[in-house]
Amino acid sequence: MAIKNYIRERFFPHMWCAGCGHGTVLNGMLRAIESLGFSKNEIVMVSGIGCSSRISGYVDFHTLHTLHGRALAFATGVKLSLPELNVIVPMGDGDALSIGGNHFIHAARRNIDMTALVMNNRIYGMTGGQYSPLSGYGIMATTAPYTNIDHDFDVVEMATAAGATFVARTTTYHVRQIKDIIRQAILHEGFSVVEILSQCPTYFGRKNKLGSAVDMMAAMKEITTPIGSKAKKENPDLIERGIFVQKELPVYSSEYDKIIERAQAEK
């Protein structure tokens, strides 16, 4: 099926700013889904609130645009109630890890079989450029006019510690890797987290004098490196890209099926 069959064409052109990285994520995600050959009726996309969350409106799946931070909680209900559905949950960094941080760690801990995409542009774009928990120390934002003194955390380490059984990172510069990693994340049985570094030239770029969208994408090439590369050993500040965790553990729905069997045997 052609990519355009997966989108709701009548809502294009999309509402993201010129140069926003989120369209690249949409592209990579759809190519990953296309390569898997899923029927559109098998996929539920659940999103929260923010620029990133509007992605669900553009795709022709069962789409659930929910509350700020709560996408994974809604998705948990969908998946546990009807485990045969493929559930994909695109979120922004503030959505997934600030207001939704609690839901994020518990969805990971339960190993619910779904794919969480964190489109990390390090800023609240929809509300006008306030700092997010992933902005990092020293960043300028509309709510940090004298620079940000909040420290960020590493999404990959956090997801790993919380128990996600598939954890990966890529960037909007590496669009082929987006497709490849999302494909593997969807195929993975268990809770998958894919962090995609994305650029927000309108707020993050402008406030921090990072140049155009192209400049910001070029920087993503410079500051990242494949996992375990020689470059990383020489420069520990580089951010690694690739699949960090990929392990098999029983998923929540199949564990619950065993509970049903036990309950019915003891009845």
Binding site: F11, K40, N41, E42, V44, V46, S56, G57, D60, F61, H62, T63, L64, H65, T66, L67, R70, A73, F74, A75, T76, G77, V78, K79, L80, S81, L82, E84, L85, N102, H103, H106, Y256, I259, I260, R262, A263, Q264, K267
Partner: protein
């Protein structure tokens, strides 16, 4: 049939009613005095092939049941005051997106953590206005276990009929008290099933286009229709819009579908109202004390009657007005600083006829509390 008689807590009666109504998905978070509902369903649902999940908090619990409802499950969560506050965000979403679900709040005393193990009826207004923005809501209550069962079934029926969240306001006294419950046979009480669209796959389905009778047929996630669900104002396909005409139409629809069907939604019971010149109005556990006062004073020639409200929202103003038209005095009996009493004053149009008999110290309202107010009304002093 002896097997159909149980001696159980009100919280367990609620579980029985929910399972009778077809509950097959529950998500919740522990909180006194509602936890027995979660505990019982953790045991019972998997026996029936249903799903139970303990979420990380009450926000996640309401979100999870909404997600599950969209796949076609009948869903419920249960909580108490502090958890009910956290659920308000999700309740508003279910109102806006028109998702059937049942939220049980077993009320306890006070704001904040308050009195976790004591009775109270302080969440009546939270049920009405706890979530932000204009909306209508349905809230039911009950004063004994047979009625807890019936009203739980009715809560599910109304949620399906009107595609809306329905709140079931129990309280600590009802929830924890043990009492006889006679389980109805299957089919004794009608159960409303999910209304699903008859539109075939490949044909445009409108999740938000009401039929002639006002009902909106649903299509489960995973079936042949793909559409959008959002908490934003939306068109008949579920896609966001700020078109003023559509926005106006949607908010009117959300309010009117409930306010225009008060007769169908409202349940109440009446006792000795024919000759009553003093009418007690009460609900939930308070109604037990109120009825006791009525039945103990009538043999002494005092013409008391009682109206027990089982639907609190939409408020049954016409019923209250009609039933109280011949009453000299109306005494609202409740365990809060006066929540239902405000609506009663509005309904009867003569606020000076309406007084409050209440108790706000965590203790169960007694005969004496009510009789003291009656003495004042009758000019007998305190």
């Amino acid at each position: 049939m002896k097997g159909n008689i149980k001696f159980i807590q009100g919280n367990e009666a609620c579980v029985e009613g929910a399972l009778y109504a077809g509950l097959n998905f529950f998500a919740g978070y522990p909180i006194t005095p509602s936890s027995e509902i979660a505990e019982n369903l953790a045991l019972r649902l998997p026996q029936l092939g249903g799903k139970f999940i303990q979420m990380e908090d009450e926000i996640a619990s309401i979100c999870a049941i909404i997600g599950a409802s969209l796949t076609g499950s009948k869903v419920m969560t249960a909580t108490s005051g502090p958890g009910f506050s956290l659920m308000q965000e999700g309740i508003g979403y279910a109102v806006m997106a028109e998702i059937p679900c049942v939220i049980v709040s077993v009320m306890r005393g006070g704001p904040s953590t308050g009195l976790p193990t004591a009775g109270g009826q302080g969440d009546v207004m939270q049920a009405r206005w706890g979530t932000h923005g204009d909306h209508a809501i349905i809230a039911m209550t009950a004063s004994n276990h047979q009625d807890v069962f019936k009203m739980t079934v009715e809560a599910f029926n109304l949620a399906e009929t009107y595609r809306t969240p329905v709140i079931l306001l129990l309280d600590e006294v009802i929830g924890h008290m043990r009492e006889r419950l006679e389980l109805p046979e299957p089919d004794d009480i009608p159960v409303v099933q999910r209304l699903r669209t008859s539109v075939p796959g490949g044909v445009d389905y409108h999740p938000y286009l009401p039929r002639e009778d006002g009902r909106l047929p649903m299509s489960d996630f995973g079936s042949v229709h793909r559409y959008n669900i959002t908490g934003l104002y939306h068109d008949m396909w579920g896609f966001p819009t700020s078109n003023p005409e559509i926005v106006h139409g949607l908010i009117r629809h959300l309010v009117d579908k409930i306010e225009n069907n008060v007769d169908d939604i409202v349940h109440y019971k009446e006792f000795y109202l024919n000759d009553a010149d003093i009418v007690l109005i009460s609900y939930g556990s308070s109604a037990r004390s109120a009825l006791h006062v009525v039945e103990s004073l009538r043999p002494r020639g005092i013409r008391l009657g009682m109206l027990e409200l089982q639907t609190l929202w939409p408020f049954p103003s016409d019923i209250v007005k009609h039933k109280c038209k011949n009453a000299r005095h109306i005494v609202v009996v409740e365990m809060n600083v006066g929540q239902v009493v405000q609506s009663v004053k509005q309904a009867v149009g003569a606020p000076d006829r309406v007084v409050l008999a209440n108790r706000i110290d965590g203790m169960f309202i007694s005969d004496r509390d009510i009789k003291n107010i009656l003495r004042v009304i009758q000019g007998k002093g305190v």
